[in-house]
Amino acid sequence: MVLNTMSQTVVLGVIGSDAHVVGITILEQAFSAAGFDVVNLGVQTSQEEFAEAAVAHDAGAVLVSSLYGHAEQDCQGFHQVLEEAGVDAATYIGGNLAVGQDDFEETRATFEALGFDRVFDSETDPEEAIAALRDDLGLTTTDTERATISS
């Protein structure tokens, strides 16, 4: 794979006791193909493990996935943990964030209040998250697009 020299590192993981691995595997592939450096922490990742990895890899973004409906409790105090570890990164969360996601705007507000920069539902395409991250990190499409199909 041709890596883009301007690429940023993204730390990725499923928070809490959640063991849903398929989504995060797809995300890892999508962000790698889009030219990002991806550190995939896998399932059942604690808040502290996210923070440690973000510091160790100087991450530009921390992407949190949750599919089993307990995201809100798993993310309580997460941004404080990141701040204390000195992490300065964009934070995204996505997945099935609430049981019975009838009003997603309410869910979005909940997680923005917890400190996340962006909140996605489970129907979001990886491309949408990638475009958002390019925006937030000030990258142009051409910075990364060369890499998308070279694997």
């Binding site: 063991a19 849903h20 691995v21 398929v22 595997t25 592939q29 896998g42 059942q44 694997s151």
Partner: protein, 473 residues
């Protein structure tokens, strides 16, 4: 260093006593008394005999609730209204994590409130006596189904409690189920479970053992499932198990599914010792289901059709409410009857389909590559070979949450909807086989006018729940 060797009798006894002290109900287990109990059971409750002597695929659902009387009612319903041939008892999550105290609290709350506060039947907490009440109440064989990395106490209690079949294995209940349990650890734990089943077997009580074939349930290439099933069968046979049911989860392409079940049967008989009676189990689609009972019935029926052609010994059925989680007992029985109707209409037709032999040959060649890799990695020892092959990535499972597998390979469907490998990572496989997969995936890419990429993988994961087999753009 742990190896594929039978646990000596004194060691068996030592571990048995140790693990039985983990929870008070362990004290009630008495091996000699349990043998006598099993001998008292009528023939129609002897799992291995019923399964091995069947002349058509037997159907078995999934089902488990916390309270004993509810579990009896549930299984009676599935037997009576669903016409299930074999019954399950699915164990709750706390028990799977060996959290018997939490399971106890859940059970007590269930008894107080009548709610299903646990997602299964806490057999350890019900103890030998509770298990036996269940066995006595139900007029069919019952299997323990769970997902427990360390199932030693569960096995000791349920075997003594009269269950004669036990699902799981050191790889299949580790890699897809848990993140941090090491393979060496789970192999050691399951050697005890198999050794205990072997001890019963030696005394004439053949405990049936069933490795969990579907693994991560998501586009698992058949050869990987078969290789892991054979390894778990070998480990069980070493410990004295003589009735082994190897499993395979439907991928949805009929040719590949029939070929895989044929290959599973043939290779298992080849690789496992002659004294083992091998049977096969086919799991109806384990991936995401359509959020619509009508469409879900179509998915279930395709499974029934496949079973009618391949004729496995057992089929684990799904319910039309699969999408929403645990089904009602009515929906569970409906899945059984839909499957039964399709099988009974189609099985006497002796349908033969084109391309089975070629696909079976490919699957067998792939499986042999993996088995050779395990043999080589372990210098002939299957335990060491398995641990090292997973460690090197020579053996791998797609979408595996466990740290014990790399989880680096990626599957995708070809233009006929057969599962191929798109990203091989370090999986050990002959180059000519890799070329076949590549050519098939390239054919699909041409059809779709797009490059081969992870997008195909992502699209395929969602395809059946979206109403198709292949995730076309």
């Amino acid at each position: 260093m742990i190896r594929d060797e039978r646990i000596p009798s004194d060691e068996l006894r030592r571990i048995d006593e140790e693990i039985r002290s983990d929870w008070p109900t362990g004290a009630d287990v008495d091996f000699e008394e349990a043998i006598a109990y099993h001998e008292s059971l009528p023939e129609r409750k002897r799992f291995a005999d019923v399964l091995e002597s069947a002349d058509k695929p037997l159907l078995q659902p999934r089902a488990g609730v916390p309270r004993l009387d509810d579990q009896i009612e549930l299984l009676e319903y599935l037997h009576g209204e669903g016409k299930a041939d074999l019954l399950p008892t699915t164990i709750d999550s706390y028990t799977r994590d060996n959290e018997y105290e939490k399971a106890q609290q859940g059970l007590e709350k269930a008894r107080e409130t009548g709610d299903d506060t646990l997602n299964g039947f806490p057999a350890v907490n019900h103890g030998v006596e509770g298990c036996r009440e269940l066995i006595e109440a139900i007029d069919a064989p019952i299997e323990v189904r769970h997902g427990t990395p360390d199932a030693r106490l569960l096995a000791a209690i349920t075997f003594a409690g009269g269950f004669q079949s036990f699902e799981g294995g050191p790889i299949s209940y580790n890699i897809p189920y848990t993140k941090r349990h090491g393979l060496e650890e789970t192999i050691e734990r399951w050697q005890f479970v198999d050794r205990l089943a072997g001890a019963y077997t030696q005394r004439g009580v053949r405990i049936n053992r069933e490795p969990f074939g579907p693994l991560t349930g998501t586009l698992v290439p058949p050869s990987i499932a078969i290789a892991i099933g054979i390894v778990e069968g070998q480990l069980a046979a070493t410990q004295g198990v003589r009735s082994i049911t190897l499993g395979y989860g439907q991928v949805g392409n009929v040719v590949q599914d029939v070929a895989a079940l044929n290959a599973l049967r043939d290779l298992a008989n080849e690789y496992l010792p002659d004294e083992v009676v091998v049977t096969t189990v086919f799991h109806e689609w384990m991936g995401g289901f359509p959020p619509d009972e009508a469409r879900a019935n179509g998915v279930i029926s395709l499974g029934g059709m496949t079973a009618a052609i391949a004729q496995p010994d057992k089929v684990i059925t799904k319910s039309p409410q699969e999408f929403q989680g645990v089904p009602t007992m009515q929906a569970n029985a409906a899945g059984l009857r839909t499957t039964r109707q399709v099988i009974d209409m189609a099985i006497e037709q002796n349908i033969g389909i084109d391309g089975i032999v070629e696909e079976q040959d490919l699957i067998e060649r792939e499986t042999r590559c993996l088995m050779d890799a395990i043999f080589t990695h372990g210098d002939g020892d299957v335990v060491q070979g398995t641990i090292k092959a997973f460690d090197s990535g020579a053996l791998d499972v797609p979408f595996a949450p466990s740290d014990s597998a790399k989880g680096a390979i990626l599957p995708a469907r070809d233009d006929d909807g057969r599962v191929r490998i798109f990203e091989w990572a370090d999986l050990e496989m002959d180059d000519d086989i890799k070329e076949i997969h590549k050519a098939r995936l390239s054919q699909r890419a041409d059809t779709e006018g797009r490059e081969q990429s992870f997008r195909m993988v992502a699209d395929d994961v969602d395809a059946i729940s979206d109403g198709k087999l292949i995730g076309r753009p």
